[in-house]
């Protein structure tokens, strides 16, 4: 009797599964960020520290515009990268007053561990998104075993612009112990209001992917952007029209110290194989936004080696060639013995803060100096353009603080006008 009923049971279960499949959708084109051409003629370029906590290592900022026009940024901070005491922090920038609010803790390892009911050894890169319903989603890296190659992604949501957060939800994105999914690039919206999150994998092979979430934040698709042989990491998605998009990627191979990119012309259903771009990069993170008329504005370490040079660059041909718009940081020629280093750091910090400059110098010394040898690092940029046309850039400043650079479209236009033609 049981054997006779089994086929009926099989068909019932599979009917349920086929019904569930009807909820799933493939990529459906992109939502293009509003045309941010601003009438504001104010030429503005300002820089300050977003993070304030001293004597910690601070890294991997991301930011988002709040509904009231303020900017909320996130980063991780702890005694050192990968330490058990690393927390995800956040602060809010008020453009009216031009100052950052106090730095607050959003997530700790212990809280996440207890909520997820599993061992977590460290937290890493946070990336923030706004879903179609207006809620904020914060994705961040959690690791249970090993180094960053053992990462998975955890998500929390906020309905009050980041003041309070939900319980965490762990995303399952890899069949192999769910390890090796990391995030860095900014999320984006598909034209149907669903969310895309660029991610990358580091275990055995290094490659980029897009995670596609439905309107409730459930994973509905994973799409590969590159294969292991391409050595592409940290994809940055740049939707240019409903069907066209470019993805910039950091290249990890030794032989090719330049960025790579893939593109689509059918709304993300298919992607080209990676091509090499005409800009140097020392295997370091890049940030970019798509501008009108096909321009790409990017921030990156524009050198084959080292992260002591950070440049604002523009491309008019989908990344094949680039022009340097502005040198954000350049410490290539600095002597790095401790005395001269600290003098330079003091000079740089004084331009960004008027209070407790010596504390900033000491914190930087702790992070960047060993055995009377110090180095500079300006890395992990994250760039957004907000509704009034202004740009907000956040990046790691000597592994000790998050630096915020705020510039207007009028300032950018002025820089572009001064570029040599050709």
């Amino acid at each position: 009797m049981a054997r006779l009923l089994l086929p009926v049971f099989i068909l019932l279960v599979f009917s349920l599964a086929f019904f569930k499949v009807t909820e799933y959708h493939a990529a459906t084109g992109f939502t293009i960020p509003e045309n941010f051409l601003s009438n504001n003629t104010e030429v503005r370029f300002k820089a300050n520290f977003a993070s304030t906590r001293q004597h910690t290592q601070t890294h991997a900022a991301s930011e988002i515009e709040l509904k009231d026009g303020r900017i909320r940024a996130f980063w991780f901070s702890g005694s050192r990268e990968g330490a058990a005491d690393v927390e995800v922090h956040s602060a809010v920038f008020d453009p009216v007053q031009g100052i950052w609010g106090s730095e607050k803790t959003v997530a700790t390892r212990e809280e996440i561990e207890h909520s997820l009911m599993r061992f977590i050894s460290k937290l890493g890169n946070p990336v923030v998104a706004r879903s179609n319903d207006g809620n904020l989603w914060l994705y961040f890296v959690t690791v249970s075993m090993g180094g960053w190659a053992g990462s998975s992604i955890t998500a929390i949501t906020s309905g009050d612009e980041g003041e309070t957060w939900s319980s965490p939800r762990r995303l399952i994105t890899s069949p192999f112990l769910n390890i090796s999914t990391l995030i860095k690039g900014a999320p984006f919206l598909y034209s149907d209001g669903t969310l895309g999150l660029p991610v990358y994998h580091e275990f055995i092979n290094k490659f980029g992917e897009i995670l596609h979430f439905d309107k409730t934040g459930q994973l509905i698709d994973e799409q590969r952007l590159s294969a292991g042989k391409d050595h592409g990491l940290q994809p940055v998605m740049l939707p240019q029209s409903e069907n066209k998009a470019l993805v910039l990627m950091r290249h990890t191979g030794d032989e090719h110290r330049k960025l790579i990119a893939v593109s689509t012309v059918d709304g993300g259903q298919h992607w080209t194989v990676p091509v090499k771009l005409g800009v140097s990069n020392p295997d370091a993170a890049v940030a970019a936004v798509a501008l009108p008329e096909g321009y790409i504005l990017a921030v990156l370490n524009n050198a084959a080696q080292g992260r002591d040079l950070l440049s604002l660059m523009i491309s008019a041909d989908n990344g094949l060639s680039w022009k340097n718009v502005y040198q954000l940081e350049d410490q290539r020629s600095q002597i790095t013995d401790e005395l001269h280093y600290l003098q330079t750091v003091k000079q740089l910090a004084s331009a960004l803060t008027h209070t407790a400059v010596d504390q900033y110098v000491r914190s930087t010394e702790n992070s960047m100096c060993t055995d009377n040898h110090c180095r500079f690092e300006f890395s992990y940029p994250y760039l957004i353009q907000v509704k009034n046309g202004d740009f907000h850039l956040a990046y790691t400043w000597n592994r000790s603080f998050i630096k915020h650079v705020w510039f207007s479209q009028a300032w950018l236009n002025l820089q572009l006008k001064s570029l040599p033609h050709g």
């Binding site: 599964a17 499949v21 249970s144 069949p175 090796s180 994973l219 509905i220």
Partner: protein
């Protein structure tokens, strides 16, 4: 309140530890009641919170949540020690192991980035993947491989009602620990077979 997927994850880690302990020398020769008591005690110990989290949660951090296939096989391992008729014939395990090995040999290398094609994506609601599983379940039924049929149907049912954290059907069918176990068993059986035939 502990969610259903957290309970499932903790239970799967508990099953792994319990099954491992019951295979230790000394435990394997225990009679029914003592064996049941040992299973109960081990389960209790690994589920008692230490430093706010049960021991099973630490293991869960490393191995993740096991597939339905693993949960069924681990449960059967414990049940076979209790009195009564065997639920599945021992001959039914080999076809299941071969299917797991073949699936794992395709899934894991490709999902870890060997090429541009990612079979793991099929588990996120691909109609043809489901059709293939339906045909496999019906074929297994036709050939009286009821263990294969039972596991496929249970995994698809669990995926349909979103039992686990994962939205991917592959995670209900297969996990790396099961794959490694199956490959080890098949290699061991293969080498034993070669050894026997060479002695004849």
């Amino acid at each position: 309140m502990v969610s259903l997927n957290n309970i499932t994850g903790l239970v799967s880690s508990t099953l792994v530890i319990t099954a491992a302990v019951t295979h230790l020398p000394g435990a394997s020769c225990l009679r029914y009641l003592r064996f049941a008591m040992l299973v109960g005690m081990v389960a209790l110990v690994v589920l008692i919170p230490i430093g706010g989290m049960p021991l099973a949660a630490y293991l869960r951090g490393w191995i993740g949540d096991l597939s339905i296939t693993s949960l069924v096989l681990l449960t059967l391992t414990l049940l076979t020690r209790l009195p009564g008729r065997k639920i599945f014939d021992s001959k039914e395990y080999s076809p299941l192991f071969i299917l797991v090995a073949l699936a794992g040999l395709v899934l894991y290398p490709m999902a870890l980035g060997i090429g541009y094609w990612d079979p793991y994506r099929l588990g996120l609601g691909n109609v043809w993947f489901l059709c293939g599983l339906l045909l496999l379940a019906l074929a297994a039924y036709f050939y009286r491989l009821s263990l294969v049929t039972f596991i496929i149907v249970l995994a698809v049912l669990a995926w349909s009602i979103e039992w686990y954290e994962s939205r991917n059907l592959w995670d209900y069918l297969l996990d790396p620990l099961l794959f490694i176990y199956v490959i080890t068993r098949l290699v061991h059986s293969g080498t034993q077979g070669i050894f026997k035939s060479s002695r004849q």
